[in-house]
Amino acid sequence: MKTMTKLALGAAAATILLGTANAGETLDAVRAKGHVQCGISTGVAGFAFTDDKGDWQGFDPAVCKAVAAAIFGDTNAVKYTTTTGKTRFTALSSGEVDMLARNTTWTFSRDTDLKLDFVGVNYYDGQGFMVPTALGVASATELDGASVCIQTGTTTELNLADFFRINKISYEAVPIETNDEAQTNYKAGRCDVYTTDASGLAATRSTFENPDEHMLLPEIISKEPLGPLVRHGDSEWADVVRWVLNAMITAEEFGVTSENVDKMATGTENPEINRLLGSEGDLGAMIGLDKAWAWRAIKMVGNYGEVFEEFIGSETPIGLERGINGLWTKGGILYSPPFR
């Protein structure tokens, strides 16, 4: 028994030692192995999908690619690990992946209790409602007595109950297990309303034969800030991922696109653009990268707006409006701290 305890203690100590030895060295480790190991979802329309060539594309992998571009100057220097809602956090905490970019909601307990660090928000989502246009409602407050398709055991279920209680109206829940099942039930008319994250609703709607026969109601009843995350204990690595994301947002704010970034990198009137693209000062050195890190990320992946429009914007079948995901200067809440 005593030897067992000793062994267990020894193993625990070894784990801790190895753990601390790893801390702060993710960037070095990434450099040494030559790629970023990025955890993504197994497929969410527009957010993560494989293209005809078998490469991962989408709004979330774009963040991984931007990080790889900033470090290596190569968007292919990413290896993807597909994670499910259940395996994602273990994959990150165990060191199987270096970062997660898979529409994960930033919450208190995930940030603290699970020992993860959310480095920012790349999409502000929220729970919304989809109804057939024929139902003739314009607002969720008119949904008194409606039957609602809802995934059981999720936060959406609790949000829904809260919303209807606050507005003193009643509803009839049609509990279902998976998203696919929800769509089938909704299409078959077994419920009047389908509720989940608004981006998911838009993606679902885009797959319908006649998307125009369905509409999203204006109410958003919860906050679901989605963003990339890393594990606790390596702030240097968190800084790299955070500022790559910020660089993409700042680039949009100052009108730097993948098209004009080469011209702007030679120097502009605006000192912040110069600092961002490395023609003035040396911000890259402060996060362990070279001067041209942001230039490469923007050149190879694009600024936030370009990525948004390419994968989920209003021109795509997903058809999401910028809305609150617009820049703070354009009525949204995207706001990157200054590059200084």
């Binding site: 197994t42 329309a45 078998g54 597909t82």
Partner: protein, 369 residues
């Protein structure tokens, strides 16, 4: 006056109309009673309602080559097989590097070659061929993973049908011997062995496969020091094998218990040792009657491989899901699922036909038909 024949020389006459060929078959099988007549007519009517739209959808109105869903919809109302055609490489090989895919194909062809002497006892040069079958696992390992002159490929790039085959075939091949040993262990007269085997079998059978997969994917990470990567596919293979071995063990135990005690006693009387009596007398009979159950377990195992998607491995269903999320191709889930269903049907149906063939071949008249 009819012709005269000598006794025994009368030529065979044709049977009366309606007693032979198609007509007889029809009458016997489809119109034998009023109830059957009604059933037949109803069935034909249902087929008439179902088949034309199905064929229209799957073939006549279908689009076989297209660049995107919109192009498909513009070209025809039926199925959009163009999507499958574009993605067939992904469905088959997952993320295996394109220039290395010949290795997977070669491994598959060699698998067929290796299976022939095992499954077909009239194979020419069977003894020599079986040596190749025994070597095959090493060859396949080398071909799929690389090394020693071949470009190394990580198992994280495995996916699609290839992943299903790797998990399915490895699980089937490894779990049969393990299952037989467990079954024998459970019958053993040595208490420790019997106790160990019984608790292993009961534990594995008492836990869902999904739980074992989660243990493989998440729990093990906590026990291993950070940075050590114990290949996830290997972990899954071990779990699937153990899981299926426990079920095989119970199926084989059923077979063992059906063999009369006299057989063992007769073997003992002949002076055979335990292993010889098992190998020569008991197991051949026990396995023969266990065949349907064993194949049943294998078919279940093969289909259970789709569960690996819960730990983020992309089997055909996972590849389908990732592909369906492509904004160019959203909304074609029917095509994808029909396609994957066909693959599984072909595999499982072949297994079941083989088991029937084996049962017929080994049928030695111990039971009544």
């Amino acid at each position: 006056m009819s012709e005269q024949y000598l006794p025994g020389e009368h030529p065979d006459l044709r049977p009366p109309v309606g007693q032979t060929g198609l007509l007889l078959w029809l009458r016997k099988n489809l119109f034998s009673s009023p109830f059957n007549i009604v059933l037949t007519i109803l069935t034909v009517y249902c087929l008439y309602l179902m088949l034309p739209p199905l064929f229209n959808w799957a073939f006549f109105d279908a689009v076989f080559i297209a660049e995107s869903r919109d192009a498909c919809r513009a070209a025809g109302d039926g199925a959009c097989w163009g999507f499958i055609e574009k993605r067939i490489g992904q469905f088959t090989f997952g993320f295996y590097p394109v220039e290395e895919r010949w290795r997977v194909v070669l491994a598959f062809v060699l698998l067929v070659v290796a299976l022939v002497p095992l499954l077909w006892d009239k194979c020419p040069n069977r003894r020599q061929a079986i040596w190749f079958s025994l070597l095959y696992p090493f060859i396949a390992y080398w071909l799929l993973l690389g090394g020693m002159g071949l470009e190394p490929v990580e198992t994280s790039r495995f996916g699609g049908f290839m992943l299903t085959m790797v998990i399915g075939v490895t699980g089937i091949v490894c779990s049969l011997p393990l299952g037989i040993l467990l079954a024998l262990g459970r019958q053993s007269e040595l208490h420790i062995i019997r106790w160990l085997c019984t608790s292993f079998i009961e534990f594995i059978r008492g836990v869902p496969l999904i739980t074992l997969l989660f243990v493989a994917s998440t729990m093990l990470n906590y026990f291993l020091p950070p940075g050590t990567t114990f290949d996830i596919l290997l972990r899954v293979l071990i779990m699937v094998t153990l899981f299926s071995a426990a079920y095989i063990a119970e199926v084989v135990r059923g077979g063992l218990q059906a063999i009369p005690k006299g057989q063992t006693e007769a073997a003992d009387a002949l002076g055979l040792k335990y292993w010889s009596s098992m190998r020569l007398v008991v197991l051949p009979q026990a396995l023969k009657i266990s065949i349907p159950g064993i194949v049943n377990t294998f078919i279940g195992l093969f289909k259970d491989t789709t569960l690996v998607i819960v730990i983020g491995m992309l089997d055909p269903l996972g590849i389908g899901r990732a592909s369906l999320s492509d904004i160019k191709w959203t909304g074609l889930s029917t095509e994808v699922y029909v396609f994957i269903a066909m693959f599984f049907f072909i595999c499982c149906f072949s297994m079941s036909r083989y088991s029937i063939y084996l049962e017929k071949k080994l049928h030695t008249g111990h039971r009544e038909d």
